[in-house]
Structure formats: structure tokens, C-alpha cells
Amino acid sequence: MPKCLVCYKWTLDEQDIKVKPEDLSLDSSRAKGKISDFDRNAIEEAALLVEKNGGAVDALSYGTASVKQSLKDALSRGPEKAYWIADASAETADASVTAMVLAAAIRKIGQYDLILCGEGSSDLFNQQTAPRLAALLDMPCLSFVNKLSLDGDTVTATRKLEDCEEVVTVKTPVVIGVLSEINKPRIPSLKQVLGAAKKPNEEIRIADLGLKPEDIQPKAVRKSVKGFVMHRKNVIFKESSAADRVAKLKASLASEGLC
């Protein structure tokens, strides 16, 4: 009967973010929040594990004040309780800060057999949270996991690496980073959505975590975030025959060293 914890991030839906053409800055004013994509897979995976093996899932999130909007969403997807830390420091947090805060919170909450999160967040995709968390909690870390099963206290995972797939076993407790292909999150039914309001949630204050000020100082400072716009060359070849047009195109590509 495993006790699982899923760490998830509440991010902005990138579909709603517009790039201002003048200076490529981002306009997020109309962006709605969402649970980071891979984290959604992590929540689903934990829910599936618990449906199969018994036990329970908790959820934990560290974010700005907006993290409160994420609770019902997360609780409608399987977890029984949600812990949350809302602090301004999350706005500029880098991977080291995030891992520090989450680790401190986990130490405060209690013991878990499996700690899951997405391989990377849908906004920054640093892919550092799981390994850093494992190091801080002195647990093994399994990353790039696309298949997971549990037998007693033994976890069997398939890791998808660049040129091969590796099957590993490890004893709990363990930190696991999951890929999106591990599952397809089910759509919460209406009863699950409405049931989320009845589930408990608990705020953890960052001041109660016993962290030093330098622990929540980001080591990597973000200077700017700009949009990427693809510029089209808009070259049209107007030669009358197809053969001539192809020849012109070939010459043009060759002059740019592309063929």
C-alpha cells in the first residue's frame, strides 16, 4: 500500500501567450493557468499505481499566489490531499530553489514511498527538479521513465534514453521523473471535479520550512524572456518553366550552403 507524492507546477497555458512583434516580449495577460503537462502525467501515473496497489496519493506544489487556483484541478485527478506553498520567491526561483523548498516541505510532511514529478515543466523544462530532489532527500532518482510498476517495495521502471531503453529496479523510497508517453491522463468525470472541493488541502508557509535566505536565492538569474518568431524570406521564383524555377531554387540554396 504505497504512499505516493506528486510534485506539480502550476504554469501558464502557452497557447494563450502572445508574442509582441515590436520587441518580441511576451504578453501573458490573458493566459490561463494549467498543471504543467508532464506533471499531469505524473499525477495520472500515481493515481493508476494506487488504483492497482492500494495506498494513497498526495499532491504538493510550490508557486506564487496563483497556486491556490490549481488545487481543485489536481484533487480532481486522483490525489486525496493537496499541500501548497504560495510565495513570491517562486516567481524567480530556479531549479535549486525549487528543489530546496520542495525537499524541505517533504521533510516536514512525512515519509513517502514514491515521489513523482514530470521530467520537465512545460514552461522552463530545466529537467532538474527530480534529480535535485533525490539528492537533497538522499534517495535514488529514476529519470526519463515511460513505464512504471510496483511490487511490494520494488519499483520497476523503463527509462527511455537517447539511443536505447533501459529497465531498472530500485527499492522505495525513490524519486521518479516521468515522460509524457507514460500514460494518457483520463478526463476527470463531473463527480470527480465536484468531489475535489470536499478533499482537504493544507498551506505550508515558507517561513516554517527552516530555510536560510540564501537557499531561496536563485543561483541562475533570468534576465529576459523573449518570443521566437520565424522570419520568412518570401522569395518567389518567377521563371516561366518549372525546370527553370527548380534550377534557380537550387542555385539559391547552394549559395547559402544548404545543398
Binding site: 487556483q69 481543485k72 484541478d73 480532481s76 478526463i187 476527470p188 468525470s189 463531473l190 463527480k191 471535479v193 465536484l194 475535489a196 472541493a197
Partner: protein, 377 residues
């Protein structure tokens, strides 16, 4: 005044959106071609609690509010308005049973309706201008066995698929509509004859047919509400239905304007995307505006329904608005897409045919303005 949906309402809407993308988007085109009742999709809807959205929890429903309901309908309609029609007509029948049914009636039908085992239908219209009046009107004669129904109901949605119909018949032809009474008639009752499926312009997949009643015997316990309360019941239920249908219109309109805008951004004529032309911008802007205002109007009416407050005037207003401007959403977006907006290989023509079915008058001469005027003059 808070215009924002609650978290639950947003999550429910998102669930409906995700559901529609997964289960309805892949079948929408085929459904429009065949018109075959989408049984698999309806079963999936039931599993996600969409068919019992308004039904109380102790009867197996999700017990969500009406604002959540219209959020669901709008999101389903963005992908497949025909399926949204099936849900709407089913839900109005369940609403009637929930609001006017006895404890026994509710227990008999609502759990099955919540599970999708029984689909609901609402048989109010006739070929004459007023239900209960005219040669073909449905008449219910009281006898010691209960009531005997004879006559015809017209344009019944979910006909042939529903397991139970909320049927309106007059208990006294001389009094006509004044003696209109609501009954619960099961589809397999002897003498219930569902006619041939009618060819609809759109919303194909939601069956529409006339139903003939030939000496249909139903017990007294089949009366829904009080005898002669039928006109009041149908008026209220149809008012609720018009808000639900408005959500369909807005869902279709929203999908259309998004598609047309995306088209306009990439269609280059005269050296620039047509989205840069004021003519196109005007068309898109008007549709987006009407859609937005309609959404606010229907959400307001939905909230009144949810809070048990008077809502009939607001419901009539949103209907009046969309009778005038509903189909325009597709007339204008099809215009933006030009020849592509006329080709059935593209999605807009299907939406054009669908949206026209969501702002129909209940019957010729039955204008929502009458009720609105009565409320102010």
C-alpha cells in the same frame, strides 16, 4: 458582481472540452454524413456523468448547477453540436421529471437517466400552432384504467432513441391548451408509434420524428405535475431549453470564428493575409462580439435558473437575440472563408447547417418578444 466562473465551473467546462476533443471531434464529420445515432459517444458521456449533470446525487447524478451545464453544452458544441442536441433534449426531460415529478417518478426514471440507460425525450410541439388545439392534437381521455392517448406529436428530438418521453396532451379538446397536461410515456408502451426520421438541415445524429399515439393506455401515476398544469410546465421547461440551446449557438459560433480567424491569417490575396483587410476584420469582429454578448446573456440566465430565481424573461431575451443574430455568426464566418466556407470538405458548412437548428422559433408565430413585452408593458 463576479463575471468569472467558479473553479468548479471552469474545471467542468475544461473536462467537457477535453471530452469533446477526444470523443466527439473524431466522429463529427462522419456523424453528419450518416446521421446514425452515436451510441458510443452517448455511452461515454454517461460514464463522465454528463447525462446526469443536473440530477441530484442521491439519484445518481452529479448534482452540478445550471451554469456548469451550459459550460458543458458550449464546449461539446464547439466540436459536435449534434451530440450536444442529444444531451440537451435528454436533460430537459430529466429537468421536467426532477421539478414536477413525485418521489416515485423521480426514483423510477432519474437514476437510469443519469447512467444513460434511459434517454429522455420531450414531446410538446404539434403541427397546429398551439399544442392541444386542432384536428391532430394529442388528446388524453380519462378512463378508469388511467388515461388513453390519441393524436400526434411533431418534431420530437431523440425520437426512437428515448426510453421515456415527457408528453403534453389536452385532457379536454374543448378547452385546448387550458387543459394541457404533462405525462410520462415510456417508449415501449403499446400504441406509441415513432414515425420516419425527418431529414434535418443539420444537427444530424440527433433524430427528429413525429410520434403517433394510438390508444396508448397510461396509468394515472403517469401524470407529471398536476392535471391541467401542462402549459405552465412546458413554458418553464422550454424557457430552460432556450438557455441550453443558446449555449449550443455560442459554442458553434465560437468554433467558427476561431476557424475563420485562423484561415484569414494564412490566406494570402493581394499580397497580404486577408486578415489585414478591414472588410474581413469587420466580419470577424461582429461575430466575436455577438458571441461574447450572447455568452454573457445566457450565463446570466443560467445563474438565475441555478439560484431558483425568476428567469423566463432573461431566457426569452437571449432567445430573441439569437433568433436575430445566431445564424449570422455562420453567415459571416462562411463569408470570410469564401469558397472554402462553402465546401463541405471544410468544417464551416456543417456548422452553418447546425447553428440554424439552434435558433428556431418553437412554432410559427410563437415569438419570445411577447413574454418580454409583457414583463415591461
Amino acid at each position: 458582481m463576479n463575471f468569472e466562473l467558479t473553479e468548479e465551473q471552469q474545471l467542468i467546462g475544461q473536462s467537457a472540452r477535453d471530452f469533446a476533443k477526444e470523443y466527439l471531434e473524431p466522429i463529427a464529420v462522419e456523424l453528419d454524413h450518416t446521421g446514425d445515432f452515436p451510441k458510443k459517444a452517448v455511452n461515454a458521456l454517461a460514464k463522465h456523468d454528463f447525462l446526469g449533470l443536473l440530477i441530484p446525487g442521491d439519484l445518481g447524478g452529479a448534482e452540478a448547477g445550471f451554469v456548469s451545464y451550459v459550460e458543458v453544452i458550449e464546449n461539446l458544441s464547439r466540436y459536435c453540436a449534434a451530440v450536444a442536441s442529444i444531451v440537451n433534449n435528454h436533460t430537459i426531460a430529466a429537468y421536467a421529471i426532477q421539478n414536477w415529478g413525485t418521489a416515485e417518478q423521480k426514483k423510477k426514471y432519474l437514476p437510469g437517466m443519469a447512467k444513460g440507460e434511459i434517454l429522455g425525450g420531450f414531446a410538446i410541439f404539434e403541427h397546429g400552432p398551439t399544442p392541444g388545439v386542432g384536428a391532430d392534437a394529442l388528446v388524453a381521455i380519462k378512463q378508469d384504467v388511467g388515461y388513453v392517448l390519441n393524436g400526434k406529436k411533431a418534431f420530437v428530438r431523440n425520437a426512437g432513441e428515448a426510453g421515456v418521453y415527457v408528453v403534453f396532451a389536452t385532457t379536454d379538446p374543448a378547452l385546448g391548451a387550458k387543459a394541457l397536461t404533462a405525462f410520462l410515456v415510456e417508449a415501449d408502451a403499446i400504441g406509441v408509434k415513432v414515425g420516419e426520421k425527418l431529414e434535418t438541415m443539420g444537427l444530424k445524429g440527433c433524430p427528429v420524428a413525429d410520434i403517433t399515439f394510438e390508444n396508448v393506455v397510461i396509468p394515472e401515476t403517469a401524470v407529471l405535475g398536476a392535471v391541467n398544469e401542462g402549459t405552465a410546465i412546458s413554458a418553464k421547461a422550454l424557457a430552460v431549453a432556450s438557455v441550453a440551446e443558446a449555449a449550443q449557438t455560442v459554442g458553434i459560433g465560437q468554433a467558427a470564428v476561431e476557424h475563420a480567424a485562423a484561415y484569414a491569417k494564412q490566406r494570402v490575396q493581394f499580397g497580404k493575409p486577408v486578415a489585414t483587410l478591414q472588410a474581413i476584420q469587420t466580419l470577424l469582429a461582429e461575430v466575436a462580439t455577438d458571441c461574447h454578448l450572447a455568452r454573457l446573456g445566457l450565463q446570466n440566465a443560467a445563474l438565475l435558473i441555478e439560484e431558483g430565481k425568476p428567469f423566463e424573461v432573461e431566457a426569452a431575451m437571449i432567445k430573441s437575440f439569437l433568433v436575430r443574430l445566431g445564424s449570422k455568426m455562420l453567415l459571416d464566418t462562411c463569408q470570410v472563408e469564401g469558397g472554402f466556407g462553402y465546401s463541405e470538405f471544410m468544417p464551416l458548412p456543417r456548422m452553418f447547417r447546425d447553428i440554424a437548428g439552434t435558433n428556431l422559433l418553437d412554432a410559427p408565430g410563437d415569438f419570445p418578444e411577447k413574454l418580454i413585452a409583457a414583463s415591461i408593458a
